[in-house]
Structure formats: C-alpha cells, structure tokens
C-alpha cells in the first residue's frame, strides 16, 4: 500500500513537472510567434579545420511557418549541411511534441531549465531537441538538436537589442564534419611531403563551427516568397 502511494506520488510529480515544461515551451513559442517574418544582416564566420574562408556578410530571411534562407551578399557561402537552416522559429512549426524536464544548467552565466523536446510526428527530421531555457526572460540560450539526416548540432545564442522578440544577436552553430581528402594527383600538389605534423593534425579536427553575428533585424515588414526560392 505504502509503495503504491509512493509510486502514485512520483508519477503525479513527473506528470505535473512535464506539464510545466510544456507550458514553459508554449510561452517561449508564444514569444517567438510575435515574429511573422524578419530580415537580418550579419557577419558569418566559418571555422572548419579544412576550410579557409574569410568572414562574409550575410542576409538572413525568415517567414512563418518555416521558410528560412541565408544568403551571402554576393559570393559563395559554405554552410554546414542542413544546420544553419535550423532556427528556433522553425523548430516550433508544430505543436506536436512532448516536453520533458531534464534538470537545470548554467549557460554563459545564466541559469536555465533543460527541456527535452520529442516530436510526436514520426516523419520529422528532428529526432530530439534539448533546450536550455532562460525562464525569467523566456529565451532559449542553447539548443542541442539531433536530426535523422545531418547528425547533431549545438546552437548557442546570445541576446541583445532584439531579446523581446526572442531573436539573438549572435548564433554559434557547432557540428561534426566528415573527413576531407583529395588525392594529390588530382589537385597537382607535388611538394607537400614536408608538411608540418602540427598543421596536419589540425586539419584532422572534425568539429566545425559557424558564427553569425547579426547587426540589424527588420521585423514583421513582410517578405515576398520569391526570396526563399
């Protein structure tokens, strides 16, 4: 009898805790829902061991429910496969998810609630999202997203002027890369036999990072669909 009461108590606690997390997630979603569309300017830095690229200016476009486009202001852009298109707004395109509490953690000096988001739709590319939510400000400080096709990403967000809309000033995407190698016969490189071991070792790092620092957002001014094609 006593055991049954304990189990009942634990279950009811867990259920109520889960419900609380859903409520919190819905509050965050409501905050993000203020934004119907936005256009943002920013600078993108790609830090992947096997990529040598300069910092480039980018323009980001978003429109409800899940249209997202990152364009470089002229030129060629290198982006982690599928990763950058994952943004907080597009994660909440559906309300078909289960939110479970997973404790608390500090992210960049801010106390956050950890919430595990499980999509109930089997066709969703996202398998699991772990959110680190700053509860008082209703801001997502960090997200770890596991997808079916493109592995796991970590997205860290810093907020500033546009925190009231839940839009970050800086986003850092961390992702895993695959090995890259082309035979020297193809690239006609004959004289790299004395390559420094430290350099070679550096190139084997399989962690990649893309940082986008936004300088300005234009919110809810309307964006034509043609931009996303």
């Amino acid at each position: 009898m006593r055991i049954s009461i304990i189990i009942l108590f634990v279950c009811s606690c867990a259920i109520s805790y889960g419900q609380d997390m859903t409520a919190l997630v819905m509050k965050v979603k409501a905050k993000l829902d203020q934004v119907n569309d936005y256009e943002a300017e920013g600078k993108m830095k790609t830090d992947v061991a096997f990529i040598k690229a300069p910092i480039g200016k980018v323009r980001v476009f978003y429109k409800k429910p899940n249209k997202f486009r990152l364009k470089k202001d002229g030129g060629i852009s290198l982006l982690p496969k599928g990763g950058v298109s994952v943004n907080m707004n597009s994660i909440f395109t559906t309300s078909e998810f289960v939110a479970l509490a997973a404790g608390e953690a500090m992210v960049n000096g801010v106390n956050t609630k950890i919430v595990k988001l499980l999509p109930t739709n089997e066709n969703s590319d996202i398998v699991l999202t772990t959110m680190y939510i700053d509860e008082p400000n209703l801001l997502i400080r960090k997200s770890v997203i596991t997808t079916k096709e493109n592995g796991t990403y970590t997205i860290e967000m810093n907020y500033g002027k546009f925190a009231q809309y839940g839009l970050p000033d800086k986003v850092v995407f961390n992702f895993n890369t695959k090995d890259y190698y082309l035979p020297k016969g193809i690239t006609l490189e004959f004289d790299d036999a004395n390559e420094k071991p430290a350099e070679a070792e550096k190139l084997k790092n399989r962690k990649g990072k893309v940082e986008i620092t936004y300088s300005n957002y234009v919110i809810n001014k309307g964006i034509p669909d043609a931009v996303f094609k």
Binding site: A53, P54, G75, I76, L78, Y180, L182, E189, F190
Partner: protein, 292 residues
C-alpha cells in the same frame, strides 16, 4: 642587339609552326568553355562530391575565375610542349636549313647571336602567355562573369573573395612566365646539339614529361629526395598564389599568401635553371665547330 632580336622575331613569326601554339590554346580553351557552358553543373557536382556530404556550398561556383583556374591547371602542364616547338628549333632549325654558318660570318659575337635568339624566344613565350591570359582569364570573365573563387586542395578547401582574386592571377601569370622561360631555355639549350628540329623538340618534351612524372610520384621516398631539384616541381608554384593564410581563429586573411617563401624558393630555382641553361649554351656554342 635590338636589330638582331627584331630579325629573330621576324623569323619566328614568319613560320606557320609558331601559330600552332596560339591556335591550339584557343581551340583547347574554346572546347573547355563550350563544355562548361553547356554542362558546367555536372562538372561542379563531380568536383563537390567529397565535400558535399558535410558542407553545402551555395553561390556561383562556376564563374570566370573558377574556369580560368581549371584551364590553367590543365594547360600549364601542356603549354611547355607548345613552347618547345619554337624554342627547340631556334638553333637546330638554322643548322637544318644550312644558314647557321653564314649567319656567324656576320660581325657579331656568338654570345650576342645566341642571346638575341634567346630573347626572341622569351618574347614569343611571353606573347603565348599573354594569349593564354586573354583566352583563359579575360574571355572567361566575360562569358561566365566573376565571383568568389572556391578551390579544392588535397587536404583543405580555400574560398577567396572576388576582390582578392584578380591580383593573384596577375602574379600567377608572372610566375608562369618564369616557368615557361625555363622550358624555353631548356629547349633552346638542347637545340644546340642537333642539326634538325625534331630531335631537340622531342627531347625537350621527353624531359618535361619524364620530370613531371617523377614530380607526381610523391609516395616513393627515392623520388621525394630528388623532387626539389626538378624544375617541373617548381613550375606549378603559381598555385601558391591561390592559397591564403588564416589567423588563430581560422579566419582567412584577405590579401595574404600562405607560403610566400615557397614562391620565392621556386622562383630562385627556376631563375638558376634559366641562367644555367643559357650559360651552358653560350659555353657550348662558343666552342662549337659550326659546319652547317
């Protein structure tokens, strides 16, 4: 001396053989341009197959700068063969026609005679490179437009901003001029030892092909040891202009070159080869008993 050079240039450009190289370059680049214009996307997909699994590359990859790089990568291995058609004929052609002995009866030193011929060969080589630059760079810029340059190296990829590319091509063509002059000097040197053109032309081509193959066999330690001494290893030094330095945060620094020291080293090796071939040529020619 200038008169001598003018005479030699007149002789070079009077021969139909001279224009084979110009026509060959125009035809080869024309074919590449046509192919890439019609089915360039398939080529880009093939190029990107290794990187596209983890990185998505967006933008106009197949632009004029990219096509120029593709053309140079393919052609700068073969242009030496075209240069040898003229360079290796400079002395042996005269010997073959029986005009060498008559020319040496003129009141000019053998050294002057040889230098005038070599300078004319160098001018021909430079004109060929200018033609290559017009066809490979400027015409491609017109046809395909300009944009950032995305290059695949064996262990990493390089993205150069559009504004940071043109000067690299200018430098690359400058370096290529040095490399091609080395080939011209070799062909010119070999032409001293024959009395018909075919021998030195084939010998020059053979040396270049042989050395290029040795240069590519980097997995064999024995060849690795001799590679730094082969001029063919240094002839591809122009590619160093298209590698960029990164800072500690792995950001590419616009306007920099990864290994400027390597370019200087390769330039020195090539200049030493040119000086060596010409000095040896003068030495041989001054001692030579000219009978034809």
């Amino acid at each position: 001396m200038w008169t001598l050079i003018q005479i030699e240039l007149f002789k070079i450009f009077r021969r139909p053989r001279t224009y084979i190289a110009f026509a060959a370059i125009a035809a080869l680049i024309g074919v590449v341009q046509l192919g890439l214009k019609i089915d360039g996307q398939a080529y880009v997909s093939f190029m990107m197959r290794d990187i596209s699994s983890s990185i998505s590359v967006e933008g106009k990859i197949l632009n004029g700068y990219q096509v120029c790089y593709i053309v140079l990568q393919a052609l700068l291995v073969h242009v030496p063969l075209l240069i040898s058609l003229v360079a290796a004929d400079m002395i042996s052609g005269e010997a073959n026609m029986g005009t060498l002995r008559i020319m040496l009866t003129k009141p000019i030193s053998r050294t002057q005679f040889l230098l005038a011929k070599f300078i004319a060969t160098v001018i021909y080589t430079l004109l060929l490179l200018v033609w290559l630059a017009i066809m490979a760079l400027f015409v491609n810029m017109l046809i395909f437009g300009t944009d950032d340059l995305f290059l695949l190296k064996s262990q990493y990829v390089v993205l150069l901003k559009k504004d940071d590319v043109f000067w690299r091509y200018v430098c690359a063509f400058g370096f290529a001029a040095l490399a091609m002059t080395t080939v011209a000097a070799l062909g010119f040197f070999l032409s001293l030892f024959a009395e018909n053109s075919i021998g030195p032309i084939i010998a020059t081509m053979s040396v270049i092909i042989f050395f290029t193959i040795l240069s590519t066999l980097s997995s064999i330690p024995l060849f690795n040891a001799i590679k730094p001494y082969l001029f063919t290893t240094h002839m591809i030094g122009w590619k160093e202009f298209f590698d960029i330095k990164v800072n500690d945060a792995n950001e590419a620094i616009v306007g920099t070159i990864q290994n400027p020291g390597k370019i200087v080293q390769s330039s020195i090796v090539l200049v030493l080869h040119i000086i060596g071939f010409i000095t040896a040529g003068i030495f041989v020619f001054r001692k030579k008993d000219v009978l034809s």
